[in-house]
Subunit: 330 residues, 4 copies
């Protein structure tokens, strides 16, 4: 049984804690959070030890692996501390908001031969995996165009946005990762446009709420991403992958399959499943399963710090492109 410590008892930490506690190959050993009550409550729920200090949690003898769900600026330090002690790490995205620091972390992890996985949960969504499998099986031939729709149900609080690194590094970063995963090639050119259509005062943060990104790879594969911080109809998560021999796409999830017919409308479906914790509940569980399996079985990490670094690099290119109106070479 792999002993796991979860660092950070916020909403994402709770998800990982529950999954660590119920996975048959792991047990939840400790929960660390500087807010004592938060650590205590989450630890109590699953019979784990509460700690205030994440470093202490990492250093516990019964901890084999850690899950980092703390604020972004702490990621690299915690990751490297665990890596040096030979402990496996699952780290929430982004690795860091600063590309140089992410690069340094990747280099150090490489040097140490450490086991670190970056938590791009969407890769583990069952429908996303079916899409990737269809590509791998050659069903659609060579991929030509990837179209990604990614809209949040509502604008996050100002404080969250202020320290988020901006929409490209905070939100679109997931889509950059999925783009790389579906394209199967690195984008070499990024063009982005950004607008403030939800909240014009976001100019104070030098941020956008509505963006589009266009990318191409060296072989000419193309990708479009659209993101918005607010969609009244819910959390919109769609992928369309179009290839030489066919196309595959997924559909959003809803709480049930009811369809309504009335005098004014037919085939009416429910609003979409909100929000990422519900929509991607299976993905979070399968992500941790994959992490645990890789650690226990000594297999390669399914998503690496290099992947985290590459997505961040694309986000940086998008920031620059949206500001300059020029396509940016990656």
């Amino acid at each position: 049984m792999l002993g796991i410590a979860v660092l950070g008892a916020g909403r994402i930490g709770k998800i990982h804690a529950a999954n660590a506690a119920t996975n048959k190959r792991s047990r939840l050993v400790a929960v660390a959070d500087p807010v004592d009550a938060a650590a205590a409550a989450l630890a109590a729920e699953w019979g784990a030890a509460p700690l205030a200090d994440p470093i202490a949690a990492i250093e516990r003898a019964d901890v084999d692996a850690i899950v980092i769900g703390t604020p972004t600026p702490t990621h690299v330090e915690l990751m490297l501390h665990a890596a040096k002690l030979g402990k496996a790490v699952l780290c929430e995205k982004p690795v860091d908001l600063d590309l140089a620091r992410a690069d340094m972390a990747a280099k150090e992890i490489g040097r140490l031969g450490a086991r670190v996985m970056v938590a791009f949960n969407r890769r583990f969504d069952p429908s996303a995996r079916q899409l990737r499998k269809a590509i791998d099986d050659g069903e659609i031939g060579d991929v030509r165009q990837v179209v990604i729709t990614s809209r949040d149900p509502g604008l996050a609080p100002r404080d969250y946005l202020r320290s988020s690194g901006g929409i490209f590094r905070d939100m679109t970063i997931h889509d950059f990762d999925m783009a790389r995963w579906f394209l199967g090639e690195e984008p070499v050119e990024v063009s982005a446009v950004g607008s403030r259509l939800v909240d014009p005062t976001l100019d104070e943060l030098d941020d956008y709420d509505t963006v589009m990104v266009q990318m191409k790879t060296a072989s000419g594969k193309q990708c479009h991403i659209n993101c918005c911080r607010e969609a009244v109809y819910g959390y919109d998560q769609r992928f369309e992958i179009y290839g030489a021999r066919g196309m595959v796409m997924n559909e959003n999830l809803r709480p049930s399959t009811i369809r309504r017919w009335s005098s004014t409308a037919t085939e009416v479906r429910e609003p979409l499943l909100n929000f990422f914790l519900e929509r991607y509940a299976d993905a979070y569980r399968l992500e941790l399963d994959a992490f645990i399996d890789a650690v226990v079985d000594g297999q390669p990490m399914p998503v690496t710090v290099h992947d985290g670094r590459q997505a961040l690099r694309l986000a940086d290119c998008a920031v620059e492109s949206a500001a300059t109106g020029r396509a940016v070479a990656v």
Copy 2:
């Protein structure tokens, strides 16, 4: 060019007149209706001759074929008159409300070797034809169960209902025909239930507005039909054909393909295309095309008076079953 006279300038006559006038192998020669203004208006629209007397229209030398869209009690007389003169006939359903009289007509037509087609338009709907073709192509293996949904958008006027022959002979008769067509075998047993859930005063007419029918064939194939005289969401026309190796179904038609997403609902489609003249516009045209082709090319009639008689017989069984609560042998 086949010279066609349309008897009856009502809504169904108008459809047939337009189709006869624009088919490349026919021309509309005459329109007959006892209401002079109706005959005149429809004839003028297509450059045909208006007549009051349907017999006179049948007897015109330039009339090769007639389309009967007059009230049901006149069908047999007009059909036989045309048949005796060697003219081809497309007759609206039902042949007659009286089975004995329909039998007599079928027999006489057989004796004369006359060319008479009964207008079960739904067989010519492009989607229905694809369903039938899928069966013929062996796609779904042996048919096991046929499920037919057939609901009108709103209750017809009292006067119409009074002379309609009742829901089974007027409305469900279309579904009986489709059941026979899809089953590929004659039903041998009919069970029906009837209710008055839309208008309780229909008991005055000894009629129902909401019915279900269950039938089986000698080899054990099964069919369910549900009908209602009123559906607030529009004209509901669905077929599901389930077989040993698969299933095929069709979908209702709508004016456009728009789908709406809002804060309360997603994938919202429009109400259904109303009513039979719009929903089955293609079917009416293709039906007349098939009639004209059969007449001009000397091919067998695609739907016969025998088909009309069989559907009426099933309707009679359903009337008896709904009244007695007993399955009726056909």
Copy 3:
């Protein structure tokens, strides 16, 4: 914490055991099965005590409630034994294959004031609940017609079928329960037809593999059910509820939402989620939750032995109707 014993360590017992062990208001205390290895394995998985004798499990002091997942002939005896000891019972359907015995059980339970729930899991499916809620909320007005499609992926083994009580009492019984639940009224008349289209040798068992049922209530509401023991495209579970002001329906579940487009087909979806344990996994969990909540909170049982008895009565009527070709008064 409610102490639960699961009687029967077969596939259904495993489901209930897992749900009992992970519900926050209960704990799994014991698992009883005459096959020692089966009891031992399931008990070990959840840290419960294994027993061979179900009576011993019922009588344990730490057992407050039992879940009966043993063969049908044992249901009544176990149910009554627990009831007499004041223990709550969740019993798999059917209560018994013999209506008189089911009636006796219902009467005795009433006399004892015992807490017994019958496990009609489909009532707890999230989509089915949304349909029922739409009715309760008055969304579709008075219910007029209920159409139920219920097809298994493949014929059960001969031995299972031999002791199943026949398709109506074994398989359609679920649909009879859903019909009652959606209609909100008791059916008063049942017509059924049965065929052997999958396996003609079922005549040896005096059983059918393909059936249709038609029912109406005193107020004239109508219900159609179709069942088949084999559907090549998977486990087909659909409800359509049509009312005076609208219609609601559900859709089948699939493993993912992928849709495929190729040169020969578009919008291709996966085969359906198989089989009842997967398709109704949520329903089984929510069913046990509802049972536990009702027991712990002292609320009425959400599904009663009377419900089990009524569904069995409808099945008996269907057996008679299919054999005699006559509608049977309930």
Copy 4:
């Protein structure tokens, strides 16, 4: 009755001729094509006069309006000739491949006060009109993002491509027009990428077969377009319009509504309706209806030469952007 001459008896000329001949407010007077047999055949079909010389057709006294379906280089000359004679013009897109020449034409037409409509048929598609109406009705609030998918079923012949002006001016031009129509604002910035994924030898023509375009308006509205010259699943035409209060989208058309279920797949739909003449048959008819109504009723032209010019300008920007890798200001 408006007397119409159709110039060009190719596939698009045939469509317009049939629509002109059957519209109740117009008659087809003449068909002009330098290929005598083509002019003769099409004219004979509808009882019109065949001519070799388009100028002669324009100058006929019984010709009130012309439809230009000739090769692109002739458009401006024919349009202006007709305009000078006071005749109304419906001209196929593009106005010209040279923006300066299109500008000259627009200016001259303005000076003459002539009635000229450019044939962007997709604006008249019933579903596209419902999308536009939903925007106009305020259903989705302010438009934020428009996503346009536009893929042809197969690569056009080399000769066609050679004189097409390239994918942006030939194919994407329709999408540029729809983008402007749905956005309700002029794009001010265009970024495009182009690849040769279908046929690498298109570099000989300095053309692409697979492109993406990204645009924004002055107020920050965004638009993505993707185009490909080949899609194995058929002619793919989708619009998604996402706004502050909701979203609307359309769906592709298919020959029928059949859905197939088998052991390997469910809900299988047919390939898409091919190609533009079939897919947009209604749109072509409604376009000509709108042209005729505008001419006869003296109303403004629904699509103007300015619209044609603006779409061409966006295409030119895309050409430049794809070549330079820079966003181009419009």
